[in-house]
Symmetry: C2
Subunit: 285 residues, 2 copies
């Protein structure tokens, strides 16, 4: 047992899977679920994901050792502002948002004395959402990045680390700005590029032809992430704006270099460019 009482705010794929994984690991005694979607909340109780439910975050967190906030990244600070009056002394608040600098600085500023905020970002997900999509193995072998801010101490970081480890994740810790620059490159830029590619091809005018009707498996695989939730990605793009703009500029410089080599029919330069990229790609499989 690591903690007695866990409050999960937002019992969706991430929050629900976190609760299920911790329960299965036997590291938490009692779990309360809070959600604004009454149907989803009732489902989380009937599926046994949580022990009790509340539609009111303020009362739901009373008595919690740890509060896990798993709501859209732009709403995390608002949730913390809402619950802060009833956070018990010594409570640890953590989250699962994919942007960290803005979240950590906002939530640090909202922590009551004696409470700790430890930013977190589990690198896991599926294309499904909601409590019904949750499963306890979601984080098994996946990375989870912790980004402790000003209010976090050694003990609170250690507790959150132990919880994620119990959930099966491989945990590391880093400065929130460093996290945001890494994920601007490896996650937010690829989504921006995928949306842009589909947008560009979809609006391309080739003698009035519906170009998309010629898409094959490669294009479908390549652009699957452009089916992600537009509002979520709007919020991520805005929450991590500066790092994402820098990543887009780096990508644009690479594309301009590739364009130059094609324009110059630079055979050696193109072979080098494509080979270098292939080596990077093959190195991550």
């Amino acid at each position: 047992m690591i903690i007695k009482r866990l409050a999960v705010i937002g019992v969706g794929l991430i929050g629900g899977s976190f609760a299920m994984a911790l329960r299965r690991a036997g590291v938490v005694d009692r779990i309360i679920g809070v959600d604004t979607d009454a149907d989803n909340l009732a489902r989380s109780l009937s599926l046994g994901i949580v022990d009790e439910i509340s539609d009111d975050a303020l009362s739901g967190v009373s008595g919690a050792d740890v509060v896990f906030i798993s709501v859209p990244v732009c709403s995390i600070a608002a949730v913390v502002r809402n619950i802060s009056p009833s956070l018990p002394a010594g409570c640890i608040v953590t989250d699962g948002g994919s942007v960290k600098s803005a979240v950590v600085s906002q939530c640090d500023a909202l922590m009551p004395p004696g409470c700790r905020f430890v930013g977190g970002h589990p690198i896991a997900g599926t294309e499904h959402s909601g409590a019904a999509a949750a499963f306890p193995e979601l984080f098994a072998g996946k990375r989870c990045v912790l980004t402790p801010g000003l209010t976090a101490d050694r003990e609170s970081v250690e507790t959150v680390l132990r919880l994620w480890t119990a959930a099966g994740a491989v945990v590391c810790s880093m400065e929130s700005g460093h996290h945001d620059r890494i994920f601007a490159e490896i996650s937010h830029l690829p989504h921006a590029v995928a949306y842009t590619l589909v947008h560009a091809v979809g609006t391309a005018d080739v003698e009035g032809e519906n170009v998309l009707s010629y898409s094959a498996g490669g294009f479908r695989d390549f652009t699957r992430i452009a089916s992600s939730d537009p509002v979520m990605w709007r919020d991520i793009a805005l929450m991590n704006r500066d790092a994402l703009l820098a990543s887009i500029d780096g990508f644009s410089a690479s594309l301009a270099e590739l364009r130059r080599r094609i324009d110059n029919s630079d055979r050696a330069g193109l072979t080098e460019f494509f080979t270098t990229a292939k080596q990077f790609r093959d190195g991550i499989v």
Copy 2:
């Protein structure tokens, strides 16, 4: 039976699968395979993909009703130049290259009197290559685009169309420049973008961190096509240079527009951009 004798030059995934599909459909009597790779050629015979083999294209095509050239797109014209002295009168030469304008104009110019060139592009493939990877269902339900040029007549186009239909493909015909503009958008641009994305992320310097080590499933799926053969994509980029440059410019304009909306924190504009892209993407599934 549609033809008596088929010569397949380049018995790899495409050439081998075409031979197997036509044999299974019972529309060709005898198939000869030609390949510069002696091991691959011997394998195509032992696997029963072809009835006989030759390492010499010039003699291999003698007596053929149809010659199918399935070699790297920049080598197709060289193969036609090599075999043209021994092409029998009435022979139909076709190919499987993914760029058509340059190939069709070059091959048309090399056709002996009475021989016909019918450009072709089956929209099918896997990540594997060689005769051992071939299978007769590869083209089932897949599109195949024919691009007849100056030497093609109604009869030769009809014969190639019947062969691809027998192989299971859904065949259409269009002008070669139109084909190249469509595939610059739907295939060549996505590959250029995938290579560029991996190149940019792989060379990004985030405080000396190996950013690629944080890649998750989305990045891997999204960049799988950057594992394709660099030399093949160099050649495609050069063979379809003008159309690809235009597609890259269209993509760059879309990316600049997305960047502007992020920079301006334009919430409505970002929602619109991502939603439009998602609708295009969801429409092709």
